[in-house]
Symmetry: D2
Subunit: 301 residues, 4 copies
């Protein structure tokens, strides 16, 4: 596995065609696009890495996986009254379907649905408490108490995220946001600003693998269902393409991170800040595709 | 397995809440909604059935799986220049995205994309030749030379399918239909009118399972990719829901049939003519959900 | 004319089918739907009224006419780089086209476009100054210094207008809002909360009529162009219907007021709080239709 | 007036920026973009012309005005159950709103609505009879029995109009087309292929002017209402812009013709084959704008 990751790193790490770094959050625009890291945490307890696997990055929308687990933990299937489970076929911050569907976002992985999930685990707590809960979940999954939120990135996002505020007020206009908009936006922006390196993220993803030594933070049924959502909706309007190429459930973030996993086998984290046309890490997607081709880990094998 | 199928049949076969039979093809509207059949063909060569597993039904859009295999066999990845691989988030016969995306259908399992797939395997052949090829593929997959097309259903569809003609002319207006519209419509309507029973359909689906004794009609890579497409797009705007509940790749048809499969394990066919809100078999979906829960066959387990 | 208005009042004033009062601004929901007032200010300087023509009401979106005049006065045709001049075919607070058209609202009479107009006349002034300017314009047009803003209605709107905030943040995300969102929302909500009675509103509308004694607040060309915009876009997705039935340029508000005018002849104000399916005053529309039928004032006569 | 038309011809006739000739009907693509003609038929019975006012061109969608008059003559207001009266905000051959609005086109001047109008005047007649009726209407309006259909243009359109067939089948799928699709398409394509020169078209448009010597083919109320529809919907998604600039009701065709009129004053026909971004004659629009500026004929003056 270590050799394989090194091969992937060699094949892709220096690729000239790396996509474009997200620019709409000022702090993210500063990230060096030359980074490339990958880490695999296998079900037998080992961790393999290559490239910049120890450099911290902003997990951004990968955090939606943890937020969804938390929201489901809090209200269970009642969440599905407020958010759907279907791919939207549209970009991550689209308002189009929201209007046609009375404020029920298509799924919890587009921004609108993620705001509902955040609003759900936030409940009547303070943002500080809610974010504390989120960090405890992630730290417990990764078995690493150093994982933290980058306050500068969070502040940068709070200061500039007009589109998310538009989504939040829009949800609120349909009564589908219960806490105050600014509280939800603040919590959400901090959630997105969680920082990890590939090693930590791969470890944090182990709660989605089925295996004897893996952290048991959610039930088996919930794990399978979250996997299905990640497969069909985890990469926005590039979800079908990711499933086609990688054959694994995964979730991307505009920071260039992707968390994917092979049920019963391994959790995989890649990071390369350049994004493809759908807003998913370009080299990250290619790396997982290569990894799956060599390991045969596709869930459809 | 036989016991499990009997249990499922007992649990669901007499359900009062069966959804509604499709009415837009007159011949389909005549079908008795009381039918319920299920068949499972396992990788070790056995077939198990329960209920009306030997009654013929119209496979309708399940045929898109065979058509896609044929189209890919003919032109390979060039097909993806004419059709996408993303869930559309819209109903099976929607024209909405087609307009915004210059005549490139979102995926080969919505009607617009299926018409492109049909146009592809039709090529410059006559409809008779092309349909002969399709039947040979299906018969070979099922190892059953009695599988045939119901000409009355096909004629009923040809006579009434204004919406598909609208889609076809629309594709033609973008230059994304190469054969004459009426030829494509005729071929497509006959393809949809293939008749099988659950036993035959389960057998025909074995080419999608990976296993020593299974028919090898397509490459492993293509098999995995088709599975991904079935998972993300196989149930129209209910694809996410099917993935969430069943955790298997599958393809439904408005005749009430569903073909699903567990990679490396089994091919599954169910039939119950009543449809849910997305146009997928209501009891069929529930049956597969039950089956997967008991067998643990979810690809995400 | 007085007789005609009395006839219209008699015919419609007690109508049982009055539409529904807008409920989304709490203060507006309290208004008695039984009100019905009408006033006509003719080019020869006379004013005729019937019904509750002296009861104050919230002009709401009728204010967009004055705001547009002010915005054009400030930046001239440069406004058309930030907002279009086409009917949207969608409801007054839709976000749909905004997304497809990169944050350029279709016209200045839907809410999104009106926010851009408000942002334009606001410029770098304080909301207080900008609203002072707006009031001066309206008072000067109506020759009535008592016209004022209802602060309770404004506060009610500021407290609840999630949808407008969504629009504003959305515009801001495209860089098409220059002042701070909350400043624009505050100014806009106060602008909508201008109170007038029918008599005052008919007088205020005289600047749109061409005539020797009429107030000359804008050039003739601008007057004609604003009339065209009111004709094609003044009643949201009911604009075509209003033009078809009334044959006059007009602008409605969800408070139940309509300002219409017959070029060279008269300015007309009606008020009836119940709204039709498009969010325009139901009896108000009928009253103008009747008035035009009897007077022959259609611009198409 | 003759001088004014000559000035307009001089100002615009040689303009280098003429827009693009429509190419989607092969016969139309052959037309020389250098043509420019204008004709004005005044209410006192005179006709003035300049430029290529005697060269025949294909009136295309301008024919929708005559078709609408005919359809209303046949079924009256019952037409409005099958077609709306609102601007669509979308291009002339869009299918988008049709899907959302259950097969009721937004207005009779977009292609979908025009197909319904054609289907209405066609009724149970043969296309030959129906087209005979249409020609009699136009000839009677223009007082010119030489007006005819160009069969080559019609045949070219029948052979290539996939998009209109898509619209027609789509309408049929909603039950909003009563005759056979091919019969409607044939009739519609011939209707669009009516040929006139500017002089004839200006004369044919006189039935829309109110005046003692003008042909009385429809009632005054219907005339006013058709004018309103032309004002709000006559130039597709450029209708608002035309109203803003010209201030007159008008209808354009992709052949480069525009018929506009000043109620009580004159009927105006212009022809210049190059189209602007909305598919309306570029120089034609500019010519009418100039004419109205000089004559003060805006309905909003």
């Amino acid at each position: 596995m270590k050799d394989l990751l090194d091969q992937i790193h060699t094949a892709l790490g220096g690729s000239p065609d790396r996509g474009n770094v997200a620019t709409y959050i000022p702090e993210l625009a500063k990230v060096d696009p030359g980074h490339f890291g990958i880490a695999v945490a296998t079900v037998d307890g080992q961790v393999f890495t290559a490239g910049h696997a120890d450099v911290l990055f902003s997990i951004q929308s990968v955090s939606k996986v943890f937020a969804l687990a938390l929201a489901l933990g809090k209200v269970g299937d009642a969440l599905w009254k407020r958010v759907g489970r279907e791919p939207s076929g549209l970009s991550f911050n689209s308002l189009l379907l929201l209007e046609r569907e009375n404020g029920i976002p298509r799924n919890p992985f587009i921004n609108a649905g993620a705001l509902v999930a955040t609003d759900t685990y936030l409940g009547e707590s303070s943002p500080r408490e809610a974010l504390g809960q989120l960090l405890r979940f992630i730290r417990s999954a990764a078995d690493d108490d150093t994982i933290h939120i980058n306050d500068e990135v969070a502040a940068s996002e709070v200061a500039t995220c007009h589109r998310n505020r538009a989504l939040a007020h829009y949800l609120a206009s349909f009564g589908n946001l219960h806490a105050e908009v600014e509280k939800v936006i603040g919590t959400y922006s901090h959630q997105c600003a969680v920082e990890m390196n590939c090693r930590q993220l791969a470890l944090a993803g182990r709660f989605l693998i089925n295996g004897p030594g893996m952290p048991r933070l959610i039930s088996s049924e919930r794990r399978r269902r979250m996997a299905a959502l990640m497969m069909t909706c985890g990469h926005y309007d590039g979800s079908g393409d990711f499933a086609f190429r990688a054959g694994l459930p995964g979730k991307s973030g505009v920071g260039g991170g992707i968390l994917a996993f092979a049920p019963g086998r391994a959790s995989i984290a890649v990071w390369s800040p350049g994004l493809n046309e759908y807003g998913n890490s370009k080299l990250g997607t290619e790396a997982i595709e290569l990894l799956v081709r060599e390991t045969g880990w596709s869930v459809f094998a």
